[in-house]
Symmetry: C2
Subunit: 344 residues, 2 copies
Amino acid sequence: MQKQATINDVARIAGVSKRTVSRVINGSLSVGDTTRTRVEKVISELKYSPNTQARGLASSRSYLLGLIYDNPDALYLDDVQRGVLEVCSNLGYELVVHPCRYRSETLVQDCLRFMQRSKLDGVIVLPPVSESETLALALKDSGSAYVRLSSVALDEAKHIVVSDDRAAAAEMARYFAQLGHEQIAFISGPQRYKSSTERMEGFQLGLSAYGIKLRPDWIIEGNNTYETGIECARQLLQVEHRPTAIFANNDQMAAGVLKVAHSLGIKVPEQLSVAGFDDNMLASRVIPALTTIKRPVRQMALLATSKLIMSIENNDKAANNVAAKVAPTLVVRESTARVAGSND
Amino acid sequence: MQKQATINDVARIAGVSKRTVSRVINGSLSVGDTTRTRVEKVISELKYSPNTQARGLASSRSYLLGLIYDNPDALYLDDVQRGVLEVCSNLGYELVVHPCRYRSETLVQDCLRFMQRSKLDGVIVLPPVSESETLALALKDSGSAYVRLSSVALDEAKHIVVSDDRAAAAEMARYFAQLGHEQIAFISGPQRYKSSTERMEGFQLGLSAYGIKLRPDWIIEGNNTYETGIECARQLLQVEHRPTAIFANNDQMAAGVLKVAHSLGIKVPEQLSVAGFDDNMLASRVIPALTTIKRPVRQMALLATSKLIMSIENNDKAANNVAAKVAPTLVVRESTARVAGSND
DNA sequence: GATTTACTTGCCACCGGTGGCAAATTGGTT
DNA sequence: AACCAATTTGCCACCGGTGGCAAGTAAATC
């Protein structure tokens, strides 16, 4: 158990004061070139690395970021986490993960306490927690740095990264219409989430451009899980007259639709087109592979983390200049086709 | 932005010294009952919560645990992370995640530096990184608390949680044999990982009890990804005489086999039985749903975290008493069946 | 050469707790 | 009442850095 070198060791060996060493570490401008190189040499010889706790205590910085989320899809979380970590490790931050309950009464309190306890420099908030205005206000109020991921621009540019789910859903509508579908059903996510309503409205808007209107009984609400996907699909497919195409709010539910269709002997895409949203790993694994909307999750994570770190390092202007909006794109695979009997 | 109460505030208001407040916080025995209650009252009135950095600096504790892994399956990582976090939040720890490169030359250095930088109290190491003896030694050497997840008992009980993959694979062998399969292929994981060799050997051992021997050219090495699952499946299935059953080292590769079988018009399970290992979300989503081995990932995570925290809190004896071994179990679904033409 | 100006560097207090030890208090004995 | 042990509390140094300001040094100006 070798003892860790301290700033004093470096100072003594380099023959300077520890204040100067501190300056070198923090890249202060006012250090002479010769001094700087000398100190840097000693630092690398000693493999010295500053104690984050001491540093944090003195400067109220921790080089710790937090990731706040509520029970998201494992694949989505993983994508985000990878993206965030990539930026973190490049810029010398570590990431603390913090699941919480969006609908709990103590959400705000819980999150603030989390930040305070670990003295986080900032947090990234994932949907649906990101949709809580109470939390956002509390964060702003406590002077914390934060960035929210969302599908609507509900905050200042420096605090948010938005994916235009509405436009993407509209594109899916266009695609369905061009394949000749008119009997179309939609399995929505929970209506209390903005991401759900955005996608639904975008889809309806897109269809209306082709004069197509969703039948109210063909809009069914799931909760974004595979299991509810199955339930909703049963309602839509175990009937006399069924839709020729189903758009689900995410890939998990679309996978549920495939399962039900298969068990009912309905051929996809010949007799039924199915599409999802996300383009996570599952989408390409299932048979037939899902047509879906690719959400640029990784890109959002990168942007959010950059923004966050910029605003932490007191460069709010730069944080504002980082792009705040990304566009999901349509990915066509095997689960969708021209409607049977249509020729146009 | 309300300022946070400090230990001095509490001390002043309660009319005691801050050393006494510190004692109350840490549950020291030698505090009078009246004093204790008085201090506790003030603490809760002020909503005081100790500054972790200062605390850490003084006592070299951080209440931070680390999770070290290398590019695992997203679903596996998510399961582990959930389990770990559950225990963490109950016991007042936070979790810092740290991906790294198992095969990098700087692995050990990188991990130690990570622990040091953030002053972690301990780490949980996932496979395959957990198989690095160099890292384990370095951790032990540096006096760090750590627990490894693995499929072989390669460390003292207090440092490891093992899943008996070998026995589980043998059970799959038994199941295959009892279905009448003799023409069996195995898609292994990278042979440099113990988890891969354990499963392979267990499978072979299990088969040999029924007098079945794997043909050497029907043992193919993949790297646990869906993509290599596809490649391996092509090699096994695009030939004149093909196996009647394939066991893959994990669910991802098994999903690849399903895909190839489907594209070649081979019916699963009628013409080909397929099984995976893990029982992650994917296994039940694909069509047909995969027969697989359920790894008790969550349970392992819970055990590992408990062990770790016990050994941090200087209770090595207790850590040793936490069960160190868990048993994966066979889950039969739709992708396996009696071999065609067999009646026994 | 003296004075101003700009740039480097060092000193010391402080961040908010904990550890070791001494001091004060309590209660029991003789 | 004096003494002693056990319990409870307080004092002060210290953990390893950073901030503010003063001091020192070199270059620029007159």
